[in-house]
Symmetry: C2
Subunit: 148 residues, 2 copies
């Protein structure tokens, strides 16, 4: 393992470059969605509910790959904003299902164009063949880290 | 702008893929550095001080591109852990310089091999020429988002 500080530049690692690109994107996306009353931390839950309305809290946690307490905190905020409602499961009293409200569906539709706009910005300097190659490679990077 | 939900898959966007790869890396890196008493949020500050020991709090904020209160909170934690010390500037009473302690330098040296190990994991599924192409492309993605 290389440990010579003269030759190892942390800012030239793929890890740093992914982290730095992600930070830039997050900032841009946060700025864009603030006007719709959504934060970066809430968006994955809105998206997961759009795709699977009525999921239980546990299923939601798994789908967004967040811990239980993180999910509960996010759902509390989304409920306060009127974007989701919780409903006890009729067949299993231990389960709580979560649904998007009409307001929540409306805000999802407002955020999607912002997702697309950030995506357009990301792609601006890549040719179509580079875009395809980049997506393929970053999937392989993720999979090698997660051991998939 | 494309808004047809039938054709737009958010999980296929470069934005999502970067975010998801970053999350996988963060989890792996967090798990590895916990044993050294460092968290993901503290690491950028240790790294910045290693490169610029004695920076002022404001200079540090700019270098890591975090907001002032975030920097102050991180420095408080690093001071509690004995990794940094603050010292009032002799020439300008408004300035506070921050220095790594010997313990802070020691922990930096312990974390660097973890950075390298995560990097090795990231690169495992990319050939050398793909690695170079990927780094070049992700820099262009970041720059197009930040408008550089």
């Amino acid at each position: 393992m290389m440990t010579n500080d003269d030759f190892f530049d942390p800012e030239d690692t793929i890890g740093f470059l992914i982290w730095d690109a992600n930070r830039a994107m997050n900032r841009e996306f946060s700025d864009r969605i603030a006007q719709h009353g959504v934060t970066l931390g809430l968006w994955p839950f809105l998206r997961a509910l759009w795709e699977g309305d009525g999921l239980t809290q546990r299923e939601l946690s798994e789908k967004v790959r967040m811990k239980g307490p993180t999910t509960v905190a996010a759902l509390n905020k989304l409920e306060d904003k009127g974007f989701v409602r919780r409903q006890g499961n009729k067949n299993d009293a231990r389960k709580i299902n979560v649904f998007l409200t009409p307001e929540g569906r409306k805000v999802y539709r407002k955020v999607i164009p912002e997702v697309e706009a950030v995506n357009v910005e990301c792609l601006a300097n890549l040719s179509p063949s580079e875009q395809a190659a980049f997506k393929d490679m970053i999937r392989r990077v993720r999979n090698s880290v997660t051991g998939v």
